[in-house]
């Protein structure tokens, strides 16, 4: 049980990191859709943005070190770990798309466009990521149980 939680948390950490990295690399740097700073930003938005930026940097590194540790201890469960990634990335994207973009107005997904469709797609993708993550983790727990029963009966 402890091992499975460790797998999931490692995935979540790395997932948050991936989401933060893609947001920065694709939407800020490559597409130039996101702006570095938006005049509408509330102070709390600036703080939240800074905290999440710092945490996503940290969690990318920590998540990968946890993965190395899992492999060293030979308890790496790929399905749980990948499930954690989807969950982490989805949760970060949903928070970014709802609270940070809309409530705190740190910046919009894209400027000078009909923003509703962008927001809608963004958040639907976030929810799909979360669902995929939860399903993967659930499935891996079921197969864990089966393996356990098999082990007990033999």
């Amino acid at each position: 049980m402890k091992n499975s939680k460790y797998n999931i948390w490692s995935g979540i950490f790395f997932g948050v990191g991936i989401a933060g990295f893609l947001d920065e690399a694709v939407f800020h740097q490559l597409l130039h859709w996101h702006h570095f700073y938006d005049k509408a930003t509330l102070s709390v938005g600036l703080i939240s943005d800074g905290l999440f930026h710092a945490f996503s940097w940290f969690s990318t590194v920590a998540g990968l070190f946890m993965l190395a540790d899992l492999r060293k201890r030979k308890i790496w469960n790929t399905k749980k770990w990948v499930g954690g990634i989807f969950l982490g990335a989805g949760a970060f994207q949903l928070y970014d798309g709802t609270i940070q973009h809309k409530l705190m107005k740190i910046h919009q997904i894209r400027y000078n466009v009909e923003i509703f469709y962008y927001d809608f797609t963004w958040n639907v993708i976030a929810i799909i990521l979360i669902i995929v993550g939860v399903v993967l983790i659930k499935k891996s727990s079921v197969s864990d149980k089966k393996a356990g029963e098999l082990h007990a009966s033999s």
Binding site: F36, Y37, K39, T41, L46, I47, D49, G50, L51, H53, A54, F55, W57, F58, V61, A62, F65, A68, D69, K72, R73
Partner: protein, 261 residues
Amino acid sequence: MHHHEQISWLGIALNGLLFLCLIGLYIVGVFVSNKKYSNWPLHRIVLWCFGIFCIAISLIGPIANNAHTSFQAHMITHLLLGMLGPLLIVFSTPMTLLLRCLKVPHARIVSKFLKGSYVQFITHPITATILNMGGLWLLYTTPLYHAMHSSTLLYALIHLHVFLAGYVFTASMIYLDPSPHRFSFIYRSIVLVLAMASHSILSKWIYANPPEGIAQFDAQMGGVIMYYGGDFIDVVIVITLCAQYFKLNRPINIRKNLQQS
């Protein structure tokens, strides 16, 4: 005008001499240490030289000269002086070298100082963060930045503080030199994330609210340099912190696994 030039040349000469002496001292230290102990690793000498070089070019030379008029150049000097220089110097473990070179009674005095309450106070992760980040907030959100350029004394003090606070902060996060006052990995991680966040917030704050006497575009670009430059150096601290933790934990984990099986 002529008089002013003379002073600046004197400053360059004195500063240059100081940095050369620091590099020389370290190398002498390596020779002394090699007589008593196993050979001092070459990469540490290189790291020390690069660290001192970072500080040198942030105080003298073309970038430092531009920093008086361009905020972007100023930001580059601050990244070198307050972040990259201190990081390289922490990696070169000067305190270990010093303790190796000194005679036992002298080394005892140094280690007594390191164990003392003053060092304990300033190397506490939270104090170090406040000294480091608090200083920067003070510099850029008050008229201090503007005042710094009209007083040589203030300029020198602020730059000294930026370097020392950067060094103490880095050393409070990653333990390479003897660090008698240690904090857990989780504790340091949380403080580090908060410090990194405060750095990001300040850079966006500068982007939106230029310090007194700075043109808007210059402040914006300076903020961007601070934001992304800080990221690159911070990630090295994060990787080192995590690497130390997972390395340290290895024997315990193996022991646990052995007990379980």
